[in-house]
């Protein structure tokens, strides 16, 4: 099959890259499209330019991994340009590019309705899509669960650092107030002083929205940079080192980062920080049943991290971990779509 995967920067970039590798292993010919990627494996095209480009004519299907209004525009532009050229539109498939549940999933799915196929992660998302379209004009929306494709789940090796390392996943705007981030930073600082045998690394979980910009005040990284004399065992990681840092870590802690799921899948002792309770804007509904939510006080001294209960495996399975053959499932559905084309 000849396929293209379209995205617009992170987090779609990494997800599409990984999916392309899997699909190529299964024999598919995959073209990757994203603007401003200076890499020989990607075509540097704006999504809407790609939508109306002749490039799509020779393809069997296009995966559109954009978000929000761009999704509706892409489909609209592609259908209209195909109509004006008197050509058959290319089957379009799409899906959430991060692990979502509840309101955030519903909001993400609405602009994807009407695509030829929606790729979801697991049984829980399939259930929620069914409720969303039940009885509506979109009731026959095609969908397929293809597992946690948008996250790195393949093990990258196992090489714990010499000193035990706690990786703290830092999101740029969670918690959304500088004060709350400041309090959390101070607590981490105190823990670092109390546990000198441990390294604590504050690890940005995504690149800055604008290249070269300063970290926002709503990040732990910003508070770290304001600290004139941080404890020697409290460090700031580089965003590019995220995967390798997670491999080296002895435990991982975060509030709402998708990488918490990777940590769970990789078997790292994982803490979803529960001090803020279940809040929709902190992805709380997603992690509610994870069995990995603890208050920071439960983790001190840090040696307790190794003894924490493992995440709820049934919950993880329903979020997509149970699906091991996602790319095969996707190809099978795309083949059916192509066969049904007039």
């Amino acid at each position: 099959m000849k396929l293209a995967l379209v995205c617009d920067g992170e987090p779609g970039l990494g997800s599409c890259q990984r999916l392309a590798v899997e699909l190529r292993l299964l024999g598919a010919d995959v073209t990757l499209i994203s603007p401003e990627v200076s890499n020989e494996h990607w075509l540097p095209l704006q999504p809407l330019v790609a939508a109306s480009s002749d490039l799509l004519n020779g393809l069997d299907a296009v995966g559109v991994f954009l978000e929000g209004a761009q999704l509706t525009q892409f489909r609209q532009v592609h259908l209209e340009s195909a109509r004006l050229r008197g050509k058959r539109p290319c089957p379009l498939f799409t899906g959430p590019i991060r692990p979502l549940y509840g309101d955030t999933l519903m909001a993400d799915l609405l602009p994807r309705l009407g695509y030829d196929l929606i790729c979801l992660q697991g049984e829980a998302q399939m259930q929620e899509l069914a409720w969303l379209v039940r009885g509506s004009q979109s009731a026959s929306q095609a969908s397929e669960a293809i597992g946690l494709w948008c996250l790195p789940t393949e093990p990258l090796g196992h090489s714990n650092s010499q000193a035990p390392l706690l990786l703290v996943l830092d999101q740029q705007d969670i918690p959304p107030s500088p004060f709350a981030n400041g309090v959390l930073f101070q607590r981490l600082r105190t823990i670092a002083l109390d546990c000198p045998s441990w390294q604590i690394r504050i690890q940005p979980d995504a690149p800055l929205k604008t290249e070269g910009a300063q970290e926002p005040t709503t990040s732990l990284a910003w508070h770290f940079q304001q600290d004139l004399s941080p404890p020697s065992n409290l460090q700031l990681g580089q965003v590019d080192d995220l995967a390798i840092a997670l491999v080296q870590s002895s435990a991982c802690l975060g509030i709402a980062s998708p990488w918490l799921l990777t940590a769970m899948v990789w078997g790292k002792p994982t803490v979803v920080l529960g001090d803020y309770g279940i809040r929709t804007d902190f992805n709380g509904p997603l992690f509610f049943g994870s069995g990995a939510m603890y208050q920071l006080a439960d983790c001190v001294p840090l040696d307790r991290l190794a003894k924490l209960k493992r995440p709820n495996h049934q919950w993880l399975a329903e979020r997509g971990w149970a699906i091991a053959n996602g790319p095969q499932r996707l190809l099978r559905r795309l083949e059916q779509l192509v066969e049904r084309q007039p």
């Binding site: 309101d103 829980a124 101070q186 309770g277 279940i278 049943g289 603890y294």
Partner: protein
Amino acid sequence: MTLQILLIADSDSQLLACQALARFSNANGATITVNAIPRDGTPEGVLKALELIGTVWTLNAQALLADRRLDQFDAIGVYLTGSKLAEFRSCYHRNCLQQKRQARPLFCGFNGVVLERFEEAIAWRLGYDLICLNGPRDQARLDLLLRHTPFQQQRSVLTGLGRNLPVQEQWERPKRLVFAEQVVMPAAASERRHLIRILTRLARRSPEWEVVIKPRVAPHETTFHTVDSHISHTLVETLGSPPANLRLSYEPLAELLLNSRLLATVSSTALFDALDLGCRPVVMDDFGLRHDLGTPFFAGSGLLRSLATAEDLDSLDGGPDPDPNWLHWVGYHTDFTPTNLLQALKQLEHSSQDSRLNLNHPGYVVNAADLSTNQLRRGAEAAIRCRDYGEARRLLEVALLQRPDNRNISRRLAALQQSNRWLRRLALLVTPRFRL
């Protein structure tokens, strides 16, 4: 046997939910008392309507919790916002434990349709003996959320979306459309002006009809959401002077609906009031299916219409009925009424207090556990009053971890840590107590 039930609410939406519950319960042999926690801006009309149904108390939460008359009731229904719900449950159970009183079954529910933050709302409600849900849709969402967790034993009951005793007889109603305004749907000023323009053009295309905008609250009243600009101001801003057949009305919604043929709304629960009262409902589709507007909830209703492109109001009046499968799914069906609650409460009488859901499990956090700092501090003060200093110290230690910067918590905790009881008493006297 007649059940004696106390309902507790504060904001107007919650009082309206209690009103609906009280109507059905009275009709089914339960006796209802409502405690309306005093709050600025609560519409007087809502309180008066409640007085017509049952006894109304107006104690604040603290006085209510201390009131021994709570023991007279067979069950207590709590209709407050999330954190207050959890706080009430927690304080009530702690009081009962400390005073060696038997706790009455507690239940809670939702005020009409749950358009967003359902999971968060459940996380505040866990631990209640019963959670009232609207219908199978909510039940399915609750089951998925709690599946494979230690909370899957949480009891719930389907009480439906019926809000008024249904009107059976039909009569010739005036050609009137009631538009049920919502304060934040849509929220953007430009969209609210667009909404007004759509209604105005529809009124102009339908000169034989009257279009009545029913504001959610009067300008001096408040609801759960804060209002930047009242709809009456938006109307003046947008139109200057409206057409003769378009007006605002602050009459009670039920009275308007009883005397109108059509109700239109973006996503208000008033749609179900309209069905109860024999008024044909229409869901405004002009803003599309948007999560922030709550419109996806109505996607399968069969009631979505564009008011901007509708020929006139006669064409809307001749539209189809709501889809019965959708009505059943969301909870508007005779299978789902407060009668189910009364039956479930009777069954609860036979279950022991030991069957109460344990909210503390390693790896799981629920909002309903004693999580908020204020709740912890309030609990500590209650424990100090009962001279349970160990419990007070435990609660304040957790609060201090949550708010390490708070000096009052650390002072109060230091006072409790005094081993000499006279010094401790003195320190507790001079350190600031927690008050909300």
